[in-house]
Amino acid sequence: MSFIEINNLSKTYYSGEQKISAISDVNITIDRNDFVSVTGASGSGKSTLLSLLGGLNIPSSGNIIIDGINVFSLSSNQIAKLRREYIGFVFQSFYLINYLTVEENILLPLSITDYNSSQQKFKLDKILERVGLSDKKGRLVDELSGGEQQRVAIARAIINDPVIILADEPTGNLDSSTGNQILDLFEELNKDGKLVIVVTHDDNVKKRTSNVIVFRDGRVEQ
């Protein structure tokens, strides 16, 4: 049995009276240690798949089973808990809270857990070292470069030690050198046992992943 099973998944939006099918009848299985890239043209449905995988959106039909849990049979609070414990998100635009410092942004997921002060500090120091931001933990995120901000976002995504990392165009706003550093980081995380799923347009990203899923017009091509 695969770690993630996506069965007959469809998502339809309505724009006024017009029905738009974002993804249609998608069936995918992903293993526990995969490093997956999801590619396709703009509007092909790859980002919709990512938001459905993270429980940020509800499908029109079909289901997603993660580690044996049928995600959409859960209540909204249970889905939030699943996200908290299983999933870390990384976005193209970083989505950091700009009035918080680097350390505060990274620690956000722990603010709603039972980790005490010393446990938080231990985790933070370890992760800051890993993403190479130990000297910038007191800075406001707006003071950082794009690459550094993306590293803060990755640190925030992994501080809860999630099993799955969902990344939506993580290198889209970065130059190629910084993008490669971020991909190195994802590779390391995958080697550490995390399932990484990256939505991307970038061929360079595809080359570095173990499994490529191509979307065309809301359907999986291969």
Binding site: S51, N57, K81, F89, S93, P109, S111, I112, G138
Partner: protein
């Protein structure tokens, strides 16, 4: 380690309240605007509350002093002469009287602080030039305090041989200032007249109480007394009951019509203040609602981020409520302090009394907190509801 190159780095335990604190601390302009709009509303209401309470006290005090609200008469069924709505019969009032010493026992009642004026009277039927006349022995200073509507033409008698004539009595005997009248072989100079009052005072000749007592061998005796009691914080029935216990031989009557008129005036002012406060609160809630709604709309992306991290509805509610709660507490504290300062500026203008001292009431800061917190919570209910209904993926796409 340095924070922003300036502050020394201090470790802390990241909790939800840290996010709220940092949001308030680092978004200074927005926080200041939120606190300022809450402050304006609360300071208006609390200042109005303080001012209305003080003005109410002032009105009540002035009304209490404006005319008696308790009448003390001897216990008798035979009186048939009318004074102050009480019959004082010609035949028996000479034998029915109260001792002046006994009257001043009223100053020993539990609510003695509420007794503002005691105006004793000795009423005698006598004659001037063979014409009947009612003489009233009074204490002029006390009487004028209890009858603020008296307009004296000439001067208030200050000597024992001076008299004050009622309006009709002056016309009946064609009296002028400095004229002399003879009563029971004693001569009295007319020091002044009363303008028409429309009461039995118009037919009365007012003399010094001690003089009348001496002339008619009624030392320390009085026929009745009018009392002005300050009833702002004490029910008149309580004062009447306490006075009756001290004066077992007297009938103590509350002039209910007077009291009701005063209470109506005071109540009107109270209702007016509450009405204005309610309008201020409603307008403020609408303004706050609009401000919080706009503020939350700006934070849609932020809410989407929290959702993606795994925050549930309760976490989002806690975050927003905590920010609003802290702001409203801060506004309430500022408003509590400022409202006393503002009331201190306004009160002398309203009461035309520069010596007005505002008494501190612990309830006012509590009211300030309750009003600020309730207003803020009420205003943030719909924006929070909207935030909870938000689809996280749409929130994240909002940029």
């Amino acid at each position: 380690m340095l924070r922003n190159g300036r502050e020394e780095f201090k470790w802390f335990n990241m909790r939800l309240y840290n996010i709220s604190f940092q949001s308030l601390k680092r978004k200074k302009t927005k926080t200041a605007l939120l606190i300022f709009s809450l402050f304006l509303s609360v300071v208006s209401v609390i200042t109005l509350l303080i001012v209305s309470t003080e003005v109410e006290k002032n009105i009540s005090h002035n009304l209490d002093e404006f005319g008696a609200n308790i009448l003390i008469t001897p216990k008798s069924n035979e009186l048939n002469y009318s004074y102050g709505g009480i019959n004082l019969g010609q035949v028996t009032y000479e034998t029915n009287s109260i001792s002046e010493d006994e009257l001043y026992e009223i100053q020993k009642i539990k609510n003695k602080k509420n007794i503002s004026v005691i105006a004793p009277k000795l009423l005698i039927l006598s004659s001037i030039a063979d014409k009947d006349v009612v003489l009233a022995g009074i204490n002029f200073e006390q009487e004028i305090r209890v009858k603020k509507w008296w307009k004296v033409i000439g001067s208030q008698p200050s000597k024992e041989n001076e008299a004050l004539a009622g309006f009709h009595l002056k016309n009946k005997f064609n009296l002028n200032i400095n004229d002399t009248v003879t009563i029971e072989n004693s001569k009295f100079i007319i020091a002044g007249f009363l303008k028409e009052t429309g009461s039995q005072d118009d037919q009365t000749l007012f003399l010094s109480l001690q003089k009348v007592q001496a002339m008619f061998n009624k030392e320390k005796q009085i026929s009745l007394a009018e009392i002005a009691a300050l009833c702002y914080d004490c029910p008149i029935e309580e004062i009447v009951s306490q006075t009756s216990q001290k004066l077992p031989n007297a009938k103590v009557t509350a002039l209910k019509q007077t009291i009701e008129s005063k209470m109506t005036a005071v109540q009107f002012f109270k209702d007016f203040s509450y009405g204005v406060s309610a309008i201020i609160i409603i307008i403020s809630v609408l303004m706050l609602f609009s401000s919080l709604n706009a503020s939350l709309n700006e934070r849609i992306k932020e809410i989407g981020i929290y959702r993606a991290i795994g925050f549930n509805n309760i976490h989002i509610i806690k975050l927003v409520v905590l920010e609003v709660f802290i702001s409203s507490l801060f506004a309430a504290v500022l408003a509590s302090i400022s409202s006393y300062w503002l009331a201190d500026l306004i009160l002398p203008i309203l009461t035309e009394n520069s010596n007005t001292i505002i008494s501190f009431n612990w309830l006012n800061p509590i009211w300030a907190i309750l009003i600020a917190v309730s207003m803020a919570m009420l205003s943030s209910m719909y924006p929070i509801y909207k935030a909870l209904k938000l689809n996280p993926s749409i929130a994240l796409r909002s940029l």
